[in-house]
Every structure is written in C-alpha cells, then in structure tokens.
Symmetry: C3
Subunit: 253 residues, 3 copies
C-alpha cells in the first residue's frame, strides 16, 4: 500500500514470498514498456514469464532481462521454448541457452508434446541443481483431458523432484487445463489437486478477470496467480484487496 | 482537427465543454504512458478516471495527477474507492484523502453497496461545496435491476443536489446497468432516462465499440461517453466524425 | 532470428519481401509507442496502416510517419479515409493530402461505399503512377456478400490495374469478409480466390490469433497477414515459426 489508509485491507504478503505471488506474461515488451510496468507496479510482481518463444524475436532482450533482474524480479522463458529444444533432442543446448541469457529461473513443461513423466522429473532434477525450476502441468490441447488424480500426483512428483512451484495450465486465453472452453473453473479438478498439494506451492494461470475473481473469492487474497497481462497487474491488486466491485464485499471487516 | 480538410466533418464541441465529453478510464498507467496518451490525444479527452481502487497501488501517482492537471484534464478516482471509505464509516477521511491527492473532482456512487438515496444526495451536496462532483447511477451487480422511472428520478435528484454530470453505469466490461449481459443497449431504459434528464447532463459508460456506435448513431457526434480505454480515444473520435466504417454514412452531407 | 539456435526453424523471408509480410494496424500510437514497437520488433514488420481516419486526430503525425520511414517501413492511411474523400468528390484533394503527409503508399478500398469496379480500377491506375497501391476487396458490412468468383475476379483486375498487393477484408474485429461473424475462415471463398490469384499477391487481414493460426497451418510460415495489433507482432512470429503451442507440431523436422 503506497498510501496510508484509515482502515485495514486484507493483509498482503510482501516480496520475496511463498504465496500471494503474481506472475506476469510479457510477450514482447520493449525495454521502455517493461520499465513502465515495473516503475509503476513492480512492487506487485514476483515473476515475469517471457511467453512461449517470444524471447527469440525481441530486440534488446538482454537489456530487458538485466532490467528485470536489477529490479529483483524472477524472469524465465516460456516452457514451449524448453519443449522446442527437447523435442529436437537439444536439452544440453537448452541449458546453454538459458545461461547465455543470464537466467536462473527455468520452466519445465510438456503442454505441447508427449513426455514420459519420469523423464520430465529428470529434467526438473537436473535443472534444479543450478536453477529455480517452475514446472507446469496440463496440456495446451483442449482435447487432452488429464484425470484429476493423475494431475495431483504429477504435481506432487514434480515438487519432490525439485520444482519451486508448479503451475496449473490455462494458456494466455484461459480456456484449457483448469478451465473449460468458456473459461469457467473446473471446480472438481481444482479441489482434487488441493487435497494433495499445498495451495502455496501452486501458481494458477488466470488470465481472465472472472478467473482471478473466482480464485480470490475461493482461496483468498494471497492465492498465487499467473499469466497476468502487464496492464492488469494493478487491477488484479484491487481484486485481491476488495477495492473493485467484484470482491468488494469479500474483505469487509 | 489537426489537418485542414477540403470538406466539413460534423462539428465537434471544444474543451471545456458540456457535451461531446470523452471520459477515459486509466487503471494504472505509468506517468510515461499517461504522457503518451495525452501528448497524442489529449485534445480529445475531458475526464480521466483512475478506475476503482487502482490509484492506491500506482507508484508516482501524485506526479501523474499533476501531469494531468497541467494538461487541463479533470482527474478523479473511481467511485468504488468512495464506497470503500463510506461502508467503513470513513467519509471524512475520504475528503482528506481526496485533498491529499490535490484532486478537485470526485465521484459519488453506490454501485457496490446499498446506500439510502437521501444519504447519497447528502454526500453529493457536501462534496459539491468544494469539488466538481460526478455521480453514478446503476449497480455493478447484474442481478440488481432498477426500474427506469426510479433511475431517471435518481439522476434528477443527484443533479439537483449538485452533481456536475451523472454517469450511467456499465462497468469496464460494458455488461451491466444500461446494457444487457451481452453488451446491448437497454433502449427502453435509455429513452425513459432521456425523457427526464437532458442528454448533456449524462455521461454514458460505453467501453465497447458497438456501444459507442449505438450512442453516436442515436444521439449524434457530441454524446458524452465514458470508460473509454486509453488506446481507443482516437478511434472513438473517428466514430464521432464518420471516419470509420460504422458511422461512415451517418455524417455525409 | 536474433539468437543463434542449434536447430533449424522454418525459413522466413527477409525484408523487403513479396511474401511473409506482416502488416500492423496502428490506430493512434504516440511517437514513443511507435518507437517501442519498432525498436523491439521492427525487423518483423513490413507495412504499418494508420487505421481508418485515425491519422487525422493524431498529434505529431508527421514525426511518426518520418520515424517509420527512417526505419524502412511502408506507411499508409486506412482506405476508409480514401473513401471519405471520394464519396465527397474530392479525389484530387486526396492525392494532395497523401503528398502533404509525405506518404508514398496508398490504400484504395470500397468497404464502406458503393463504387463501380471500373472506377475503382481507374483510381488504382491513377494512384499507381506515383505510389505503391494496396487495394482491398470486401465489404465492412456483414450483410453484403460477394460471390467467391466475383471476389477473385476483382482481385485479378485490381492487380492488373497496378495494385502491389490486394487485401482481403476482415476489419479490426475479424468478423466480416473472409470470416463469418464468429471469426471462422470462409474456406470455400479463400480457396476460390487462390485458384485465381497467386497467394503472395494477397495480404489476409487476420486480427485474431485463431485466424493467424488457421492461415499459417494451411499456407505456411510466409503467408502475408495484416491488421496485426502492435503488441501481437512478436507473438505472431512465434506462430509462424512453430514456437507457440498452436503451430508447435507444424514445423518439426
């Protein structure tokens, strides 16, 4: 809170934190646009994901990464890029690629390709020896359904293999994985996951406002949320604190 | 018009004005982004609303407000913030809060809470003694329907209490208040309101292009429109002047 | 590709090019926002369209045009502005207007007005003597259906009259012309067009990601696409190269 208020808002965790995390998707911001976001709302952001393969086409990428690092943000490239290397049997090159960008956080996913889960955990173990690993569960293909039990079990195994957090897939569109094609939360799946995995170990992709509202209403102010658009970071914070219509009554004394 | 044309466009009012108003919703722009909007399109903007509670989480807020003021824009914080103070019995603190930000325009609303209408008018009277008051009618809750007659009567009373303009609620999504859940205008409601309230005293929230088109087609170039996204200000001006397909035939000689 | 990769991506053409074109719609960017886009992704952009009549309301327009030109981008104002002059019998003034802005690319369209096709081709011939002409086929009115044969024949005639490329209409919304109201491609129309017109002579308006994916899946990496939002240029490039989930399997060795 930048302004002293004469009443209490729900208590937000402060950075660095285990829950209350906001992860932003940057899909090609200029350095100046990154500055705009961080100078204005950087105190609210924990992770920046350079979405899918966009980092490869962004001029001044190293300068942008340095800017994020200088401002104490964790930056990583989208898991699709990890998969693009792995499917071509270039995992070692991927590690070099990550190092060449001075990144220390890395995402492991299998949203676009089939990967034996033991193999995925092996990648996590290897990368976790030098990096902070975020791993993602869920397919980007709306036709692939993973049973709730299997979903929860994979998350558990990935955390045991060294993942710092596991991400529940939704894409930028918010219409697959933990949501139906209309973007509504798959309540049964989410509850099954939470029977097995502590909530603070999960980042829920929630690009749509309705999804952010749903998670905040059900799991409170400090639920970890991801795939937030850069210009929605501050608006999300008002949802987390009851200062927007949708959650106004949620946090009254 | 920045460029001399060899034909007439529909005549736009110029600032400061009573009708033809464009109100923009800023939900957390950086100072530089505010400069981008205003240096490019500031001649088209009358009011800037710092949406709902976003002002509380925006770094460099006072600098941004000063920039808007220096450029002769009216700035105010969203009515949800007014309500967040009032529901906690902190109205006097709200007045201090507004002053501490050097704001002289203020919004009074009851979109997220129940408020006796006499009480709302009392707030308007009190604030109007020192500020330009904009008051909003309509609930943010899609399940709450206000009868057209009641809607018109409240607007009348609020104007009599000192509101400079009354706003017809639609939210950022454009799916409540004067619109149905699909964003279509509630024609009967709008006409009933206009039987009682002069059109230039109303600002219609119209975030969606289809809504802007509807109002311009029915009520002309200089209808007052609000909740315009910063990057849609210039596009809206082309709708107002028949320089976009949707209103191209509206303003031919 | 800014970064050396240890594997091959589908080969992209490089600028200046006949196919693989990306055309961006700028509907009122500030000079600084234009710089942000071009400094970050300018190597990926061929054409910038100043959408419909927005150029008339944009401060610092000449400075922005100069910036684009200095960075070797083709800039032109939207066809609706051409039509706004023509419908008022001001074609000669339009030519002066284009020159006064130092533009050398021009769009000829009839999406918002009726125009005899011979007359349209005459405009193309006249303008092509001094400018690069892009001409557009298709109505902005969803109720006007042009038969596939007629569509293809018009494109052929416009190219013969001097158009550098022909554009297939879709609007900013992506819901008319070559798409149905839900944004799905009109497959029969598109195939009929391609029986008669070489694919590299067409720029397909494809503002929605699903449309970009459809064209890339059917016609490959270097299909010409237009009406791309400024902040989607880099994301589009990942689709063209199989580095986003949607086309991940399209370009594997």
């Amino acid at each position: 809170m930048l302004i002293e208020l004469p009443f209490m808002l729900p208590e937000r965790t402060s950075k660095p934190r285990e829950n209350g995390i906001t992860m932003v998707m940057d899909k090609g911001l200029s350095v100046r646009e990154a500055e705009d976001m961080i100078h204005t709302a950087g105190h609210l952001v924990d992770f920046v994901k350079l979405g899918f393969g966009t980092s490869l086409f962004t001029n001044n990428l190293k300068e942008k990464i340095k800017f994020y690092h200088d401002n104490h943000l964790n930056v990583y490239v989208g898991g699709t890029l990890f998969e693009a290397f792995v499917i071509r049997n270039k995992f070692d090159d991927y590690r070099k690629f990550i190092k060449s960008l001075n990144l220390t956080t890395v995402e492991v996913s299998d949203g676009s390709m089939e990967m034996h889960h033991d193999q995925k955990c092996e990648y996590i173990r290897t990368l976790a020896s030098e990096n902070t690993v975020i791993s993602e569960v869920g397919s980007k293909d709306a036709d692939i359904n993973i049973a709730p039990d299997a979903w929860a079990a994979m998350m558990q195994k990935e955390l045991q293999s060294g993942s710092f957090k596991v991400i529940a897939e939704a894409r930028e569109s918010g219409t697959v994985g933990i949501y139906d094609p209309k973007g509504n939360a798959d309540v049964a799946l989410i509850h099954k996951i939470l029977e097995k995995v502590p909530v603070e170990q999960i980042i829920w992709e929630a690009p749509l406002k309705s999804q952010q509202v749903w998670f905040i209403k059900h799991f409170g102010t400090n639920i970890n949320l991801g795939n937030i658009a850069p210009n929605e970071v501050i608006a999300l914070e008002t949802l987390r604190t009851g200062l927007r219509g949708d959650t106004f009554h949620q946090f009254l004394p």
